[in-house]
């Protein structure tokens, strides 16, 4: 399990930076998810019947509803993907689960140790 040393600030021409990879992945996966979602939803729901629901005051054609449905799913997927990428990138670094990069656990001892005037009975 040898770990190569590398310079985090060095960029290699032709290779994507971390940021580029994040943005590209989030966009592409959100697009795929929105496509699949739109496909499934409008296979079941006919947008022409939606006017009966009478929520939106204008009459919308099928094509407009298909497009709005896709855009809505795309935006929702984008938000979910972008937040996930953000959480992972800003969270604990690689190796955290294996014990690396953690601050030491704060040391504790009985409060009355070295403090003979402290009566621990006063603290639950």
């Amino acid at each position: 399990m040898a770990e190569e040393s590398y310079d985090e600030t060095r960029e290699i021409p032709g290779r994507w930076t971390e940021r580029k990879r994040d943005v590209g992945t989030v966009l592409w996966i959100a697009f795929l998810a929105a496509c699949a979602g739109t496909f499934v939803i409008f296979a079941v729901v006919d947008p022409d019947g939606l006017n009966d629901a009478w929520v939106l005051p204008w009459e919308m054609g099928r094509r407009l509803v298909y497009s709005l449905g896709f855009l809505f799913l795309f935006v929702v997927s984008l938000i979910a993907g972008a937040l996930t990428a953000f959480m992972i990138r800003t969270g604990p670094r690689r190796g955290h689960a294996h014990g690396r990069g953690q601050p030491p656990v704060p040391e504790t001892h009985p409060p009355e140790e070295n403090n003979p005037d402290l009566d621990i009975g006063d603290f639950r």
Partner: protein, 462 residues
């Protein structure tokens, strides 16, 4: 493999956190928050206002009942406004007072608090709990652990039941539970929410804040040097060390921190606030409470750990009114007053006149032209009304309604409407302003536009 940096150990187990019980100003504040918030949650479904559950989100009927008001799908703009208000409040209070939300109002904190009360009640205080966990599995330990989980599960189940009670009338739901005739969806959501409560408040606890919560990551962006944070006064506290109360700490070269480590023991996220502000800190102020008590014991001034700001720590002065606080505050005020104003002036009537698609118009004997419509009308009020229909800008129109305009509370109706005009009234498209008004309440009034079609010349072939 490289050697770990000093102070770091590979493969160290993250210790389980046993927060020590704390009393004091902020603990009391949190207790009040828990009682108020959970009280609202558990009691609201059981309170009836105006014949309706105080808070009921009736999804199948697509109506929300909030404190005697009824919201329809058409009111979804209020939902958007509510979300914007909630977001802005979070920004505003974070900029002003830091992670108030995390320490006192977040459901994760509030339910965890209750689960820890139960744990403490059954397993005892921190040292007892640590000892119990370290002890071998005896009958006593099994009994205690079982008892704790049973109480947790009962409480979680009640929580799940209450949650579903916001979506299904809770009394009906209660009867169904007692009769063991709960529907499949209600059963699923009750168990789902109960399981989430049990897992989050019983097991995940501070891990949710540390690893999963986006707000915990974002909040630093809303902070500035004047935001309230919980901070240890290093200047005053260091060098730390144990001592007797009677010791002369100046002569001994000691600061005010007696290194009792109580601030670490009460911390629900297991950090040492004396290491400085850390993203794990949820600003629950338990360390403030316990340190104040220790300072009282030692007869030192309080506030070695306290709510303060970076600026106050550095040069003693802090500004409450900063541009970002003012901007957030003004936006919040504007949206809030706008929402309240629009809600109080809301007309509980909705109407649309939809042309009959099959015919342009009909010519009746006697030189009269008839246009046929469907009036889609919704009485959004909680009581029935009779409405009067009139054409405002054309007094030659004769209105023929398919049925009287009387609607019960929250009734939706489609009523056929025939408008008859003499041919002399005009040619081509006539735009009519049609007024609907409740006969018993003139403030319930709506004007809608309708297009009436007329023959182009006096003698068209039909």
């Amino acid at each position: 493999m490289t050697e770990p940096a000093s102070g770091e150990t590979l493969y160290r187990k993250e210790p389980k956190i046993y927060p020590r019980q704390v009393t004091g100003r902020f603990a009391r504040l949190r207790q009040i928050a828990v009682w108020v918030l959970l009280g609202l949650f558990y009691l609201l479904p059981w309170i009836t206002i105006g014949g309706k559950q105080a808070m009921l989100f009736d999804l199948p009927a697509r109506k929300f009942y909030l404190f005697g008001l009824t919201f329809w799908p058409q009111d979804f703009v209020y939902l958007a406004l509510l979300l914007i208000t909630a977001g802005l409040s979070l920004f505003f209070f974070t900029a002003l007072a830091g992670r108030l939300w995390c320490g006192f109002a977040c459901p994760q904190t509030v339910w965890t608090e209750v689960f820890i009360w139960i744990e403490r009640w059954i397993e005892g205080d921190r040292p007892k709990r640590m000892k119990l966990d370290a002890a071998p599995w005896t009958t006593g330990k099994i009994l205690r652990k079982t008892a704790k989980h049973v109480v947790w599960i009962v409480f979680a189940a009640w929580t799940g039941f209450t949650f579903v009670g916001f979506f299904t009338p809770v009394r009906e739901l209660g009867q169904n539970v007692l009769a063991l005739s709960l529907g499949p969806w209600e059963t699923f959501w009750t168990i789902f929410y109960a399981f989430a409560t049990y897992g989050n408040a019983g097991f995940l606890r501070e891990q949710v804040c540390k690893y999963m919560c986006p707000y915990a990551r974002f909040q630093s962006a809303m902070f500035d040097q004047d935001t309230l944070i919980i901070s240890y006064d290093t200047e005053r506290g260091e060098p730390r060390g144990g001592r007797r109360k009677s010791d002369d700490r100046v002569a001994a070269g000691l600061g005010d921190c007696i290194n009792c480590t109580l601030c670490v023991q009460v911390c629900p996220t297991g950090i040492d606030i004396r290491d400085g502000l850390q993203y794990e800190c949820i600003a629950c102020a338990a360390c403030v409470d316990v340190c104040d008590q220790v300072m009282d014991k030692m007869e030192y001034p309080r506030g070695l750990i306290r709510y303060t700001t970076e600026n106050a720590l550095k040069h003693g002065d802090t500004h409450i009114f900063r541009p970002r606080v003012l901007v957030y505050g003004l936006l919040l005020l504007a949206i809030f007053t706008g929402t309240v104003w629009s809600m109080t002036t809301r007309v509980p009537l909705r109407a649309d006149l939809i042309r009959d698609r099959n015919a342009l118009y009909r010519e009746l004997p006697g030189g009269v032209v008839e246009n046929v419509y469907t009036l889609k009308i919704t009485n959004m009020d909680a009581r029935g009304h009779r409405y009067v229909m009139a054409v405002l800008n054309n007094d030659q129109v004769e209105i023929d309604l398919g049925r009287p305009l009387e609607l019960a509370a929250e009734e939706v109706a489609g009523i056929s409407v025939r408008l008859r005009l003499p041919q002399s009234a005009g040619q081509g498209v006539q735009t009519l302003d049609i007024e609907l008004q409740a006969s018993d309440d003139p403030s319930i009034r709506k004007v809608i536009k309708a297009k009436a079609l007329m023959p182009m010349s006096s003698g068209p072939s039909s």
